[in-house]
Amino acid sequence: MTDTGPILLVEDNELNRDMLVRRLNRAGLEVISAGNGQQALNLMLSEQPSVVLMDMNLPVLDGWAASRQAREDERISHIPIIALTAHASEADRLNALEAGCDDYATKPVDFPGLLIKIEKLTRA
């Protein structure tokens, strides 16, 4: 695991957000969080997180749009994004990847699996 920056968790549901922050902290990871896509983009710019865990259904700016914008902004286009999607459907997964996400995890997340994905992306 690199120590380049914290993990950015983008999740509008505070219950779920709190839970994931707590879990990631327990796994020894520093976490910052955002509640919508716009906040996420702002934090990506200011904090340069090592990886973004992005929920797709977000207010203000949704996860797909935020991911697309991140990919178009060269200041942050290198930051890997893991899409957190409530749906395991092929379409959702493809939409996320099309929007520029590097990987995806379906909710409820398989936490050990998520950690592996985080590690894989931050190491690369």
Partner: protein
């Protein structure tokens, strides 16, 4: 998000809520043993569970999948953390958490289209067709009560809930409950005590009780079944199993109700029969009629009986000299004593005509010893006269003597009379002949006809015999005097 879900109608929703309820119950008992961090995680988990429950219960406003999945995700996350942290020290909580996680997994698969299998229990539950019943669900936990009520209402039952033993007893008093679902562990009056009171209550006793136990406490269940519980379920229960047991309970209750109705009808019939026949039939015969109604024909049949007729000699003249009250006292004393003796010998009293008694042996119940019983009865009646007379003398009443005649022959026995007034009675020539023989008796004497003599099986001391020509009868008859005071 376009996809909406009707989660309250799904089997996984019930399954999940049951797992949460079980976890809550277990948690409330164990929280003293947990550290701050675990308590915090539990409180978050339950917060998620509350949200989930609100979403599942809100059938009018369909919750969207996103919210539902978020709640599931949160519950799952805290559940997994708790298993990691406290699982090794708290095997019971660990097991319940693992069930909860399985339920979440099922919920999740159901939502991602892989949940073909999870829809199965719901279909099965709908297949169980049950007569709607009135169910009393007793549980101290609100979530449990609501879950059961939701489940059973959906099946068409009418559900009332009680949060304590006291409330349960109150509900039982208020309404005619078909089945009681009873949680074993409750503060205050617990399930065992409620069960005991139900089974002690004359009207509630037959109400089926299904015990619900949170922990797999088989000993407790056995104890309850011994105490009269009908069935049991462990939490979290399968809705199909719940429905099947409720159905069986309702059927049991319905059977009992029908049985009770039938029993009450029988009781009314019995009362009627006793009231109608009791005055002139011995208890034994009434009981016999009630036990074997088919063995007795009250409709009218020709049968051989021995007729007993007794009469106080010179009573009419005597009564003219006494005050009416004295006559009644004397008669009641005499007839009371005679009735007891006749009934003791299983005779049927046909009627009292003033001081005369007409009794029949052999109807409605036939016996091989009808004549013997009639004669023994007559002997005892005569023997009882000394006691009656001793009491009469003590009260300044006259000494009376009775003559008794016995005759045996075929008579028609049955309910005779009009629709308004009928009674089990006897008609036939032998009745008249008995009356004529009775006219011949002297005070204290027993005369029997030739036919009665031939019907006797035991040994009796027969005295003088005489052939007599009696009024209204063409042929002459032979009568025999019975010598008393010998056995």
């Amino acid at each position: 998000m376009a996809t909406n879900t009707r989660a309250a109608d799904t089997a996984w929703g019930d399954h999940l809520l049951r797992a949460i309820i079980q976890l809550r119950e277990l948690f409330s008992g164990r929280q003293a043993e947990l550290d701050h961090e675990a308590l915090e995680d539990f409180s978050r988990l339950f917060e998620g569970a509350d949200r989930l429950q609100r979403m599942l219960e809100d059938t009018t406003q369909r919750s969207n999948t996103h919210d539902l999945m978020n709640a599931l995700a949160a519950i799952r996350g805290y559940g997994e953390m708790l298993r990691e942290d406290i699982g090794p020290q708290q095997p019971a909580l660990d097991e319940t958490l693992s069930q909860l996680l399985e339920a979440i997994h099922a919920a999740h698969s159901a939502h991602t289209g892989n949940g073909v299998g999870t829809a199965q229990p719901l279909l099965q539950a709908q297949k169980i067709q049950s007569e709607p019943g009135f169910i009393l669900a007793v549980d101290d936990l609100k979530e449990n009560r609501e879950l059961v009520a939701r489940n059973l209402s959906r099946m068409g039952h009418f559900v009332v809930t009680a949060a304590s033993g006291e409330e349960a007893l109150h509900a039982l008093e208020q309404s005619d409950v078909d089945v009681v679902l009873l949680d074993l562990l409750m503060p205050g009056m617990d399930g065992r005590e409620v069960l005991r009171r139900i089974k002690e209550h004359p009207e509630w006793r037959a109400t089926p009780v299904i015990i619900i136990s949170g922990n797999q406490d088989m000993d407790g269940i056995i104890e309850c079944i011994e105490a009269g519980a009908d069935d049991y379920l462990f939490k979290p229960f399968n809705p199909v199993l719940l429905q099947a047991r409720i159905k069986a309970g309702i059927e049991r209750k319905r059977w009992h109700d029908r049985e009770e109705q039938y029993r009450q009808q029988l009781e009314r019939n019995e009362k009627f029969i006793r009231a109608t026949f009791g005055r002139y039939l011995s208890d034994e015969i009434v009981t016999d009629i009630l036990e074997r109604p088919e063995g007795l024909e009250l409709g009218g049949d020709l049968r051989k009986v021995t007729i007993l007729m007794s009469d106080i000699r010179g009573f009419t003249t005597l009564s003219e000299r006494l005050a009416p009250a004295q006559v009644v006292t004397m008669l009641n004393r005499y007839l009371g004593a005679m009735t007891d003796i006749i009934m003791a010998h299983q005779g049927t009293i046909d009627e009292f005509i003033g001081d005369a008694i007409l009794a029949v042996f052999g109807a409605p119940k036939r016996g091989d010893d009808d004549a013997d019983r009639a004669l023994n009865c007559a002997l005892e009646m005569q023997a009882a006269m000394s006691t009656i007379n001793a009491r009469n003398e003590a009260e300044g009443l006259p000494v009376v003597k009775t003559g008794i005649a016995l005759n045996t022959g075929d008579v028609i026995a049955g309910n005779i009379g009009s629709e308004r007034r009928s009674k089990y009675g006897f008609v036939g020539h032998p009745m008249n002949v008995t009356s004529r023989i009775e006219d011949l008796t002297a005070g204290g004497e027993i005369l029997i006809s030739e036919s009665t003599l031939r019907s006797l099986r035991g040994n009796f001391q027969v005295g003088d015999s005489q052939e007599v020509k009696v009024k209204g009868i063409d042929e002459s008859i032979v009568v025999h005097q019975i010598i008393q005071g010998v056995t």
